[in-house]
């Protein structure tokens, strides 16, 4: 098993009630599979599924990215800088 830290930003913190969380995943778990687990744990994120941006570390990565121990997932709504 690997442990992954999950960070939430903007109003996703309100939807989940926290800024960070941790999930245990099987080795070889992809980002897409991890996202399903995160939505099970935080059902209010389900309604935001289509407008959720996801990063691993500091990068936007593909859903088939295989997660490794020590990586962090960040979830947030569309960005609004400027």
């Amino acid at each position: 098993m690997i442990e992954i830290k999950v960070n939430f930003f903007s109003y996703f913190k309100d939807l989940t009630g926290c800024e960070t969380s941790r999930i245990d995943l099987e080795e070889g778990t992809t980002l897409e599979q991890a996202m399903e687990r995160i939505r099970e744990q935080f059902p209010k994120l389900e309604s935001m599924k289509r407008s959720t941006l996801v990063a691993v570390g500091l990068e936007y990565v593909a859903p088939d990215h295989v997660l490794s121990e020590g990586e962090e997932i960040s979830l947030f709504p569309p960005v609004q800088g400027g």
Partner: protein, 132 residues
């Protein structure tokens, strides 16, 4: 390409920024963009916007955007400052300077930079509605 990227809680003093500009003798164009907080948001009156950032990722994503600009246009330098935290109405939340040999590439690079920022740099607005 010279580059400067800052996220700051401090007031952006545009006159100080402009006065610290440098460019080589081959440069013929300087573009400035300043994004100002408007008093209306979502049809309601606000007195400020609180900007939240995933700072480490925001700086990294700006760097990637600057890398792409360097490949696309012959820009000599870009300086960018984005406020985070509380920004009152009528103050600058984003300040950009682009220096290039000719105006066309400066305008294009500046516009593209801001468009890309709005797609991928993790910064969010929290409007502070009057009366809330």
């Amino acid at each position: 390409m010279k580059r400067s990227i800052h996220l700051t809680k401090d007031f952006i003093d545009e006159s100080v920024m402009v006065s610290s500009r440098t460019q080589s003798h081959q440069m013929g164009a300087v573009i400035y963009f300043s994004g100002i907080v408007r008093e209306g948001e979502q049809g309601k009156k606000i007195d400020a916007i609180v900007y939240e950032a995933f700072e480490e990722m925001a700086l990294h994503q700006f760097k990637l955007i600057f890398d792409e600009i360097e490949q696309k246009w012959p820009i000599e330098s870009i300086r960018l400052t984005h406020r985070i935290g509380h920004v009152p109405v009528n103050e600058s939340s984003l300040w950009v300077e682009v220096v290039s040999p000719h105006r066309q590439e400066a305008f294009e690079a500046c516009a593209w930079l801001i468009d890309e920022m709005k797609k991928r740099v993790p910064i969010w607005k929290h409007p502070q509605f009057v009366g809330d």
